[in-house]
Symmetry: C2
Subunit: 178 residues, 2 copies
């Protein structure tokens, strides 16, 4: 992992989600994979939560190397109550603004290899480095992009007739994993 | 499925892939999930093959309702020899042009419900309708968007340390399915 490679992907995510979702009908935006799974609307809200409460606050804890390096637990469902009155368009715009500001901030840190190797304490996973946190941010983005595409695909599961076995995206995560 | 819903997604795919891939380094563009799996570069080539040899030729066979309604088998690996000298940027542009022209064509057909219910014969799956073919085109796109994001994510599998169990995208399709 290099920081430049990671930022190259992280800066793409708002445009990717905009291309996938801006102006789609509610059937695409609000469809899920079943009870207790995220719709594309939920995913954008969840990514906003990450920008506000996860990646940057945790990076700051690691960089500070204070007496307590333990991260706050992350609330995967904060977005559910936060965004009840919001439109998808406004969430996409908000996410793009938060992401842009966070990447300006990370770049302003001019992180060294020594800083990337500093550790924090994940509340359930234990010791993790800043390098691993930043790589996880990238993978988390890409995982949720894949999820949005998969959830949208599943809205047509009953429409493809005999083609189902050729379309593995329709049966991925039949038991929810994310 | 409505034709308008389907076209809304189909017309997004070139911009989604552009956002994901335009200008990325070779590590992101050429990485795979293992032997005999597609890189993001391969996926764009495969989608071009679909525009040229799959969706529209098969729709024409169905609409013609001639004595033979059996589709030509589709070559999932045509792109491998076709695109050896090509850049990813040129493939993204070519895909966007082909997709745009194909959607103009499909809209020019002004398909009726009766036409959408016409059948063709898939060489291994048997009878399928034009409605199912068009829905499959949409799901196929979204499945390959999910694949590109997943394959990119896996390039960082060794970088996330203890976070692996929280990132299911890293272990999806450990046995290749698409």
């Amino acid at each position: 992992m290099t920081l430049a490679q990671s930022i190259d992907v992280l800066q793409r995510t708002p445009a990717i989600l905009h291309s996938l979702l801006d102006g789609v009908g509610d059937g695409w935006a609000r469809g899920t994979e079943g009870p207790a799974t995220f719709s594309p609307f939920d995913v954008v809200g969840h990514l906003i939560d990450g920008e506000e409460t996860d990646w940057i606050p945790r990076a700051r804890i690691i960089l500070a190397q204070g007496p307590t390096r333990r991260f706050e637990p992350y609330d995967r469902f904060r977005h559910r109550s936060r965004n009840t009155q919001r439109t998808l368009a406004s969430l996409l715009t908000e996410f793009a603004q938060l992401r842009s500001a966070n990447l300006v901030l990370v770049q302003s840190w001019n992180l060294t290899e020594q800083q990337l190797a500093l550790e924090g304490e994940h509340p359930s996973l234990g010791a993790v480095t800043l390098r691993q946190l930043l790589a996880t941010w990238v993978v988390h983005d890409l995982g949720h992009v894949a999820q949005v595409a998969r959830v949208m695909a599943k809205q047509y599961k009953d429409e493809v007739g005999a083609w189902i076995p050729y379309l593995p995206v329709l049966t991925d995560h039949e038991t929810p994993r994310s």
